[in-house]
């Protein structure tokens, strides 16, 4: 009997590894996309920018996301200089509004604003959340599997589709095999796909509400020799969130 159970276990293991091995690049990215775009997400984060001269600047913000990342709201809570400023991104960041509390003005921004740095950090607004961009804006190709940051990973290259408005010509993602978590992403220049501009590394990966979450993200800017660290102080997934939250009315509150 024991032999049969062991035999079945070995068979199951072999089957699952064959299945994992046989996943296409598109399937891997679909799984990454599903993992990264939960129905709703709330996060409270602290962002620390380290400049070329070694000076540090710290920002804190709260963010809400709904409909698998299609709607995003970011509101700064610190420092006083930016407190109350908010960014609303709808339709996978194709529509962007910014709110400035000092003038109580809401300004509609064109999608090129996605390229702008988030408060001078190494994260652009595009990096912060553009919904299904991995699937819609890029074609995926599987490269040779690699071990990175201590994890066995799929290595997938994403090349920008013609007409897509991403600011990156290609991305290389290292995706942890066991949970499809993108632990490292390399970003390449808009015009020249050979120029490596940024690397994002997700650290301190823990399960929150059953979902693997990197509680620390570091973005290294290869061009400017700067880095930005994002630390998540609180994260919640898949809770009821009203559509009213993602409106101009809510932005100015």
């Amino acid at each position: 009997m024991k032999k049969i159970i062991w035999g079945l276990a070995i068979l199951l293991f072999a089957f699952s590894s064959v299945q994992a091995q046989s996943l296409t690049a598109e399937e891997i990215i679909q799984k990454v996309n599903a993992l990264m775009n939960q129905k709703s997400v709330y996060a409270k984060a602290r962002m620390t920018i380290v400049t070329t001269s070694g000076k540090k600047r710290t920002f804190e913000y709260e963010s809400w996301s709904k409909d698998s990342g299609e709607k995003n709201l970011i509101r700064y809570t610190a420092p006083h200089r930016v407190k109350g400023q908010a960014i609303l991104m709808l339709n996978n960041a194709d529509d962007i509004w910014a709110y400035f509390p000092r003038t109580r003005r809401v300004r509609k921004l064109a999608s090129h604003a996605k390229k702008q740095k988030m408060q001078g950090s190494d994260f652009s607004y595009e990096d912060m959340g553009t919904g299904d961009a991995f699937v819609n804006d890029f074609t995926a190709e599987k490269l040779k599997d690699e071990k990175i940051e201590g994890f066995d990973c799929y290595k997938v290259e994403l090349t920008r589709k013609k007409g897509a408005d991403s600011q990156y010509s290609r991305l290389i993602c290292w995706v942890i095999k066991k949970n499809f978590f993108p632990v490292v992403i390399d970003y390449y220049d808009d015009k020249n796909p050979d120029i490596w501009v940024k690397r994002m590394v997700q650290k301190d990966i823990r399960e929150i509400d059953g979902i693997p979450t990197g509680l620390k993200i570091v973005m290294y800017n290869k061009n400017d020799n700067t880095q930005t660290e994002m630390e998540f102080l609180e994260v919640k997934y898949n809770f009821p969130l009203s559509d009213d939250m993602f409106s101009e009315r809510s932005l100015a509150k």
């Binding site: 920018i49 400049t51 070329t52 001269s53 000076k55 600047r57 710290t58 420092p79 006083h80 200089r81 407190k83 194709d94 529509d95 400035f100 000092r102 003038t103 109580r104 003005r105 300004r107 509609k108 921004l109 064109a110 999608s111 090129h112 604003a113 390229k115 702008q116 740095k117 001078g120 950090s121 408005d165 600011q167 220049d189 808009d190 015009k191 400017d224 700067t226 559509d243 009213d244 993602f246 409106s247 101009e248 009315r249 509150k253």
Partner: protein
């Protein structure tokens, strides 16, 4: 004067007593300005303390207020005639009274302390109601907003905060994309109260609004001086506006625009009174202000961010209330421009800006303005440096290049402004 200091101290002292929900924040802003006008170099500095407080008593009720305290030092009294061409200045003369001669055309920066905003906001599921002195921002333009009858932006620093206005504002969202805003702002006469109705919507990647506005608008005839109260004569009019604005994206560029048709209504009695007052001056009644009764204003703009993070923008503004030949600029045109009664002195102008984040902490920009009507121009280089977490340093230069008599003439002077902003 002492009671004001006491009142301010009392105001700050009582804030914590309002409870833990009160948020107190604001900034301190020392500023130094220098300008070379003719052969002289003038200096004016100021210190501004702005204390904001916000209180949310429940999900439905919130209160906001700002207290501003500003002191001025250096050259605080400016002769406005210094900034006007000679032929225009000759239209008026100093006032002679009891053997003394005085110049009524001067602007004095005197220390001020005031409640800039103080409002209560009631938020319900179907609408928001804001009552009290509040900031009102209308339109999509960066420098000029034809539909914003409440504010005029400073061309040197268009994003600086605007003052509050006493009003009742009702915002009714119809859906996530559509909404109605109405504003009622009382004036000195209920017949001339300010009214605004705005329908806001969204189509594709475009936001747009349609607006109907009635606003009291007073025009200064600075040639008629009330010696006792040291005021200029003001002709009251009612300005009716039908306008629209939009903002969106076209071929990858951010685009925006506004247009407003203005109609000026002047009561017969008011005009007769004006003519009577004018007749009593040395000018006689023969030269009243020439006011366009029906005119258009419109603005269009576009912007783009390059991959290098360089941001460029351009805006064109046409104001049919203003004149297209600088030889026609009169003394009152200049005074109305300085008193923010009109948005521009010349009819057609454009504004351009290029901005680049030089480092993570330093941003540099240069903006320029060019009048197509009188071919004058000005450039404003600007540097913003984040010295510490909550401290910004700003340096702005202003160089006027036009010939004398034009809207952006050399005789307006070349200068700079250095400003520190410490947030708390």
């Amino acid at each position: 004067m002492k009671w004001r200091y006491l009142l301010f101290a009392l105001f700050l002292w009582t804030l914590p007593a309002l409870g833990q929900q009160v948020e107190i924040f604001g900034y301190f802003e020392p500023q130094f300005m220098g300008a070379k006008i003719g052969d002289e170099f003038y200096q004016l500095s100021s210190n501004k303390l702005r204390v904001d407080l916000q209180l949310r008593t429940s999900d439905r009720v919130s209160f906001g207020a700002n207290f501003d305290y500003i002191t001025y030092h250096g050259k605080t009294d400016w002769d406005l005639k210094l900034f006007m061409p000679e032929n225009v200045v000759n239209e008026v003369s100093d006032i002679n009274m009891f053997g003394y001669s005085f110049n009524p055309y001067h602007w004095e920066f005197s220390d001020r302390q005031f409640l800039d905003n103080a409002f209560v906001k009631f938020s319900f599921s179907k609408f928001d109601l804001t009552v009290g002195k509040q900031q009102i921002s209308l339109g999509t333009g960066y420098v000029w907003n034809p539909v914003d009858v409440f504010n005029r932006k400073d061309i040197v620093d268009p994003t600086y905060e605007q003052p509050g206005h006493n009003a009742i504002r009702l915002d009714i969202p119809i859906s996530s994309k559509w909404g109605i805003t109405s504003i009622y702002a009382p004036t000195d006469n209920w017949k001339a109260d300010d009214l605004l109705l705005k329908l806001k919507g969204n189509l594709g990647h475009f936001d747009f609004s349609i607006l109907g506005i009635q606003k009291q608008w007073k025009f200064t005839d600075a040639r008629i001086v009330d010696f006792i109260n040291q005021k200029f004569y003001q002709l009251p009019t009612r300005r009716q506006i039908l306008g629209f604005d939009f903002a969106g994206e076209l071929f990858g560029l951010g685009v925006w625009g506004e247009a407003a048709h203005n109609r000026l209504l002047i009561e017969n009695d008011d005009w007769l009174d004006y003519e009577k007052q004018l007749a009593m001056t040395s000018l006689g009644a023969s030269l009243p202000m020439s006011l366009e009764r029906n005119f258009w204003e419109w603005v269009v703009g576009a912007d783009y961010t390059f991959d290098s993070q360089t941001y460029v923008m351009a805006e064109f503004y046409q104001n049919y209330f203003a004149k297209d030949d600088y030889n026609d600029y009169r003394f009152n045109d200049w005074m109305q421009y300085y008193m923010a009664e009109t948005k521009t002195l010349s009819r057609d102008q454009c504004y351009t800006m290029i901005q680049h984040p030089v480092t993570d902490l330093l941003s540099a920009s240069i903006s320029g303005i060019y009048s197509f009507s009188d071919e004058s121009s000005a450039v404003f280089p600007m540097i913003v440096y984040n010295l510490f977490e909550d401290v910004d340093l700003t340096f702005i230069g202003n160089f006027y290049l036009g010939k004398e008599g034009t809207a952006y003439a050399k005789n307006l002077g070349n200068g700079f402004m250095a400003r520190a902003k410490v947030y708390f």
